[in-house]
């Protein structure tokens, strides 16, 4: 094998120069695997330590948890009620995603497929809205939520987050929906679709990759948004999992095992979902909208 390769490369093959320098390739892979290690090992480290008692985490954090203990997990569910945190997060972030996709999808559909006066103005407003950080809206929103008795209810996080994520979702979805060929729309019209059924039957299914990637980012931003949670839904019965995490560091700052478990419990489900959806999105994005 070695020999045949050598013979092929021979002294004549000047164009193959790059391949005859495997050192460069080795270095490139070394850097890439080095960085991969920072992400993979950090995750492994935290999950591994979640199966040890605190003392073990402190003294032997590199050792494999060969006889795993579940004490941190029972603590996480009994003492800090992490199950409830999960449920709250799921309800609030799930609702935010649904509202953003529905309202954002409808708006994006109109902005990408209809010609009307004021369309350009709306796009300019949307781009400008990207510059408004949560800091610049939090006080009046909090005031509104208290006034409407929505603070410390699920709606108290869902509504502001929906509004905050709509800009991004509309821009992404409108970009994708505008690439769908006009013939499809005309065909659907001849088949007797009105605008609403056209949205449901044509644009929603074809725009699936864009809807999928928008929903992932909206979910992540909502699920991970500590700032809004801290202010709008801080009571125990509604607080989401990020808020629990930040409280653990101040209240149980010495219980390393519990902290490792809380981080693992927050991170691992999201990571698993990401692994499944990632393929689907990339497939959808590369295949394009309509074939043939």
């Amino acid at each position: 094998m070695q020999q045949s390769v050598k013979r092929e490369l021979g002294p004549r093959s000047v164009t193959m120069k790059r391949r005859s320098f495997p050192l460069g390739t080795i270095l490139m892979y070394a850097v890439l695997f080095g960085w991969s290690l920072t992400t993979i090992y950090a995750l492994f480290w935290i999950v591994n330590n979640s199966f040890k008692v605190s003392r073990e985490v402190m003294n032997n954090s590199f050792k494999l948890a060969l006889d795993p203990v579940m004490v941190n997990y029972t603590n996480a569910f009994d003492r800090i009620n992490i199950g409830k945190g999960y449920l709250n997060s799921l309800i609030m972030s799930g609702s935010t995603v649904l509202l953003v996709l529905l309202f954002g999808g409808l708006a994006a559909y109109v902005l990408s497929r209809f010609q009307f006066r004021g369309r350009k103005v709306i796009f300019s407003i949307l781009y400008a809205s990207l510059l408004i950080p949560a800091f610049a809206t939090v006080v009046p929103v909090y005031e509104l939520l208290i006034h409407w008795k929505l603070a410390n209810t699920y709606g108290g996080l869902i509504f502001p987050q929906t509004a905050g994520n709509l800009t991004f979702a509309i821009l992404v979805l409108a970009g994708y929906l505008s690439t769908i060929p006009k013939e499809l729309e005309e065909a659907a019209f001849i088949d007797g679709c009105n605008r609403w059924t056209m949205f449901i039957k044509i644009f929603l299914p074809i725009g699936r990759p864009a809807f999928a990637s928008a929903s992932i980012f909206v979910f992540l931003w909502s699920y991970n948004d500590l700032f809004s949670a801290l202010i709008f839904v801080s009571k125990e019965n509604v607080r989401p999992i990020v808020l629990l995490l930040s409280e653990i560091s101040s209240q149980y700052g010495t219980d390393f095992g519990l902290m490792a478990t809380a981080v693992s419990l927050t991170v691992v489900p999201v990571l698993i979902i990401y692994l499944f959806i990632q393929k689907y999105i990339e497939k959808g994005l590369t295949e394009g909208a309509v074939k043939g």
Partner: protein
Amino acid sequence: MKGDRKYIFLFLLPAAVFMSIFLYYPFFKSMYLSFFRTSGFFSKTFVGFDNYARMFSDELLGAATLHTLELMLYVIVFQVGIALILAVLVDNVTWGKGFFRMVFFFPVVISGTAIALLFVLFYNFQFGLLNNILQNLGFDKILWLSESNALKAVAVPTVWHYVGFYFVLFLTAMSKIPADFYEAAKLEGITGVKKTFLLTIPLIMSDIKVVITLAITGTLKVFEFIFVLTRGQSGTEVLGTYMYKKALVDQNFGYGSTIAIYIVVFGVLLSLLANRLLKRDEITY
């Protein structure tokens, strides 16, 4: 199409209602509040530009601004830099592209709060991972979150968190460069590192510009890392945590809103500046 006006109105309405109530109205209300001295929600007195005058003599705000700028420097140099290097490397290797894409993106998926908590375990003086390593190697323990180190220590998770995001943006941009560009370069004998600097990077300059703008506005929103790791102690107070303290801990809504408006203006100015400095002609293939 007949009856389109009705649908345009109906379909835009829900998004418009949500955004008006929870985004635009609060934004303008914040501007309005920045001209008042408040205590709680109920009493407020108009003070004109007093809050803005106070802002310019507020040393803590000045410090927070400097800390934010320092953090921004680390983010632009390291986060964007590492992302670019990784993207160039992945673009040049043949095996494992999908793997690296997937793995580098992991931290982006994780919440900043969880990452901050992970780094609490790394930086802990007594039992943390880093001091563990130092002790095993026979060195003295280091106070990682001391006055002189804390901001750099906080910058590490901040940078690590989003490298993967910019990496994917760069990689996507590179994959759009037509193959014949590279073939032409190859005929001219331009390969390897030279190819990267003469071809790849100039061709994705507009994407680099976008990423730097994102990095700037992103740094202004940094909150979790500081809040969990140091609570703004030891010289790590940034604009976000300072605004939170003034507006929501001290319940000083008027001055808090002034700081919020300052953050917005600061962000817009910095983005404009970055765009001016990186001005390039758009390249279309």
